[in-house]
């Protein structure tokens, strides 16, 4: 039996796995100690729990030493700490940072702030399939470059970058390499050693853990990366992030990472199969529907399609009684601009307004996928019947030949 509403927006957040909740509960009540309390059992118990979680997270990202994992409040803070922390610490060495045009908002906003403070940014463009060309990064590097910051997998289109190649290049040039892996960790194999990653941001709530906790991996050896803290205080987390650790959240994060490690291969295969099913169903039933992003190099649970001639928010409105999805339409963003990610692929602004993201998760069923697929097809067809653009296109009018009055 289908249960409504169906959640298919798992790249915005995920439900907490019941096993994670179970692991967290004792740390709210009887095991409530402060991990920095060094002189009694409450503190030791909390510290042990935090260390275990650090270990679980180190494992899922392939870190050599759990001490390299610094807890933060989430992906946004991790990215802020990584990029601003490097910028401040290595300012004497240079003031140039290389990143891409499709980074998530947190990264782009950090870069904008640094630009106002005198740093120079290069936003490397991506190919139509969402991949960054290694040569484009190479060409962007100057003798002032101190950091390369690239997202491991994109939040909208799921495209997975060739991190190992970028890491190798960074190493050759002696530049620190930050990976925003918030969408990748727990979903696909991530290994900071194999990929030559020096800093890595991740978050719990996208891997069936709680909201409010994330981590930054900071490499300790070859090279030893130093970052300036954003928050000063008791010197927790090796001085890089002061503040009392939220032990229950950290315990949940650790358990969530551990579960992801156990089920990743099987879960990825299952979700990719369901995703492909959804994609085939939609693309074979709707003309002029375009897949956004790379057809192979993408997250197993991501599907992003632009439906020409219909606007994304109106599609969501037709679905939102029964299912939760998201769109790159301006009407669903706070900025009133359509998705810059779809725009960066070279698609027209119209197709950016028309993009719909389906993101599947651990608890998605085949029935749900079938239902959402069928409903999406219905809604798009209904909206096209009332779309003046579809009518014009069917009459053979080239929409580009019309002189639209844009405001």
């Amino acid at each position: 039996m289908l249960k409504f509403p169906i959640f298919m927006d798992a790249q915005s957040t995920t439900p907490v796995d019941p096993r994670v909740v179970e692991a967290m509960i004792p740390y709210f009540t009887e095991k409530f100690g402060h991990p920095a309390s060094r002189n009694h059992s409450f503190g030791w118990e909390a510290e042990n729990a935090v260390d275990r979680a650090r270990d679980q997270i180190a494992k899922i990202i392939g870190a050599r030493d759990p001490k390299e994992v610094i807890f933060t409040s989430g992906g946004t803070e991790s990215i802020n700490l990584a990029v601003k922390g490097v910028a401040e610490m290595y300012r004497e060495k240079g003031n140039h940072i290389v990143t891409t045009a499709i980074e998530q908002r947190a990264s782009l906003d950090v870069c904008k702030r640094l630009e106002r403070q005198g740093f120079e940014m290069t936003y490397v463009p991506v190919r139509p399939d969402g991949l960054v060309e290694l040569d484009a990064i190479r060409q962007a590097i100057t003798d002032k470059t101190i950091l390369i910051s690239v997202m491991f997998a994109n939040n909208e289109i799921g495209t997975i970058q060739d991190m190992a190649a970028i890491g190798k290049l960074a190493k050759e040039k002696g530049i620190i390499f930050h990976a925003d892996a918030t969408q990748a960790v727990g979903k696909i194999p991530v290994n900071v050693e194999a990929a030559g990653i020096d800093l890595l941001s991740c978050t719990a709530h996208l891997i069936y853990g709680p909201k409010g906790v994330g981590a930054l991996y900071v490499r300790r050896k070859a090279p030893r990366v130093r970052i300036a803290p954003l928050i000063d205080g008791g010197g927790h987390e090796r001085g890089m992030r002061s503040g009392t650790l939220p032990v229950p959240l950290i315990v949940g994060f650790g358990r969530a990472a551990e579960i992801c490690g156990e089920v990743m291969a099987e879960e990825g295969t299952r979700l990719a199969k369901l995703r492909d099913q959804l994609q085939d169903k939609i693309l074979s039933n709707v003309d002029e529907a375009y897949l956004n992003g790379h057809p192979e190099r993408r997250l197993p649970h991501n599907l992003n399609i632009s439906f020409a001639y219909v606007e994304g928010e109106s599609v969501l409105m037709g679905l939102n009684k029964e299912s939760a999805l998201s769109s790159g339409s301006a009407c669903t963003s706070s900025t009133l601009e359509p998705s810059y990610v779809i725009g960066a692929l070279g698609a027209s602004a119209e197709l950016a307004h028309s993009s719909i993201r389906f993101s599947l998760h651990r608890f998605t069923t085949e029935e749900e996928v079938e239902h959402v697929g069928a409903r999406t097809i219905d809604v798009v067809k209904r909206l096209r019947e009332m779309s003046p653009l579809y009518e014009l296109a069917k009459e053979g009018v080239d929409l580009k030949s019309i002189r639209w009055k844009a405001d």
């Binding site: 001639y309 606007e311 119209e350 009332m386 844009a406 405001d407």
Partner: protein, 136 residues
């Protein structure tokens, strides 16, 4: 953002979706907006050339739910009005009726633009015949 009941109703049951032949006598067509901005409205009126009364109206809209609702509502309001009365429909009337939030006001503005464009097209095509009818 939650939608008002009226927006949802117009979205689910849009009134007067469709098209008239552009060159049919008495038909005025307005096509406003731009695809790259995320909304385009086509609004058409069919005027009784003897009475100057809008007998029928149709729309097609590419845009969000509020844009669809604004144009659907506009076609309802246009029917039965004279060309001069129709020109008095204001975007604020649409905002109030549909309880549009501030970020959706541009949808109502576009609907008003579409009405004005359809009326202008009608007047242009029927300039000599229209004058006596609308002054009755």
């Amino acid at each position: 953002m939650a939608y008002s009941d009226k927006v949802v109703d117009h979205y689910n049951n849009p009134r007067n979706v469709g098209s008239f032949g552009k060159d049919t006598p008495g038909v005025g067509t307005g096509l406003v907006g731009a695809p790259e901005c995320g909304d385009v409205m086509k609004l058409q009126i069919k005027v009784n050339l003897d009475t100057g009364v809008i007998e029928d109206a149709k729309f097609k809209t590419f845009g969000c739910g509020s844009a669809i609702a604004s144009s659907s509502l506009a076609t309802e309001w246009l029917k039965g009005k004279t060309v001069d009365e129709a020109a008095k429909i204001k975007n604020t009337d649409i905002v109030n009726e549909l309880k549009l939030p501030p970020v959706k006001i541009h949808c109502s503005v576009l609907a008003e633009d579409a009405i004005k464009a359809a009326l202008a097209d009608y007047r242009e095509k029927n300039a000599p015949a229209d004058a006596p009818a609308s002054s009755k």
